[in-house]
């Protein structure tokens, strides 16, 4: 399996986690789609530095070769999966009553 295939699989798995497994439905919520572009801007910066300075080196056979700010486009997919799963878990725990938002609104 190439990184391209693994990254695509990762995105599909992350979407399934959000929509079907944890049922947080973030992909249907505005807050996610406002947050994601902000996060992705920093992600491009971080991945760009790490790849541009060759801290992380990709095997040419594992990627398509299309790059965005030095980093292979596959990193964008990997990052999307990482962020979606993280936020889905965060909301899921909150919905289950683990330190939900209400406690802080005691002004």
């Amino acid at each position: 399996m190439t990184y391209t295939q693994a990254a695509l699989l990762g995105v599909v798995a992350a979407m399934l986690v959000d929509l079907a497994v944890l049922r947080t439905g973030l992909l249907r919520r505005g807050v996610f789609w406002v947050t994601y572009p902000i996060v992705v801007a920093f992600q491009l910066l971080v991945n760009g530095v790490l790849t541009g300075r060759s801290v992380v080196r990709y095997h040419p056979d594992a990627i398509l070769g299309v790059r965005l700010a030095y980093a292979p486009v596959e990193d964008l997919l990997f990052g999307f999966a990482l962020v979606l799963v993280s936020l889905s878990l965060w909301v899921w725990w909150g919905r289950r009553g683990v330190q939900p938002p209400d406690h802080r609104r005691k002004v």
Binding site: F32, V83, G94, R95
Partner: protein
């Protein structure tokens, strides 16, 4: 910067997001238990992906730009910290956006009953947690 390069990038990333905690009073770090429960599975799953990717030769790390501390599976310490830093930054950003926009995200009191399907997000729909 040499061997601290990767570590410095992570520190910069964290610094770029940490101010959201006091400025927007998002209480993400204060809710460390919830944060820990969120980050732990991410570290585990994406760490395993990383180990598999390194084994498959998808990517490798420059030993001259990492501390040299290797964790089980041969991953540099920084790579595991990446899976801690990125989720923490993402949650900080998410909670800041939510604080500003006051749109529901699904963890509000009574947002969804046990096992209930999440409702679609209706921007400006007015979540129940808006009192202030």
């Amino acid at each position: 910067m040499g061997r601290l390069t990767y570590l410095a990038v992570l520190a910069g990333c964290l610094l770029a997001a940490l101010w959201l905690e006091p400025v927007f009073r998002v209480d993400v770090l204060r809710r460390w238990r919830r944060l820990l429960l969120t980050v732990a599975p991410v570290v585990l799953v994406f760490g395993l992906w990383d180990v598999a990717a390194v084994a498959a030769g998808h990517w490798s790390f420059d030993p001259a730009q990492t501390t040299g501390v290797l964790l089980p599976g041969g991953l540099p310490l920084e790579e595991v910290l990446f899976f801690v830093v990125v989720p923490v930054c993402a949650v900080l950003g998410f909670e800041a956006v939510r604080t500003v926009l006051r749109w529901p995200v699904g963890d509000e009191r009574g947002a969804a009953g046990p096992g209930g399907a999440p409702r679609g997000g209706t921007p400006g729909g007015g979540g129940p947690g808006g009192g202030g």
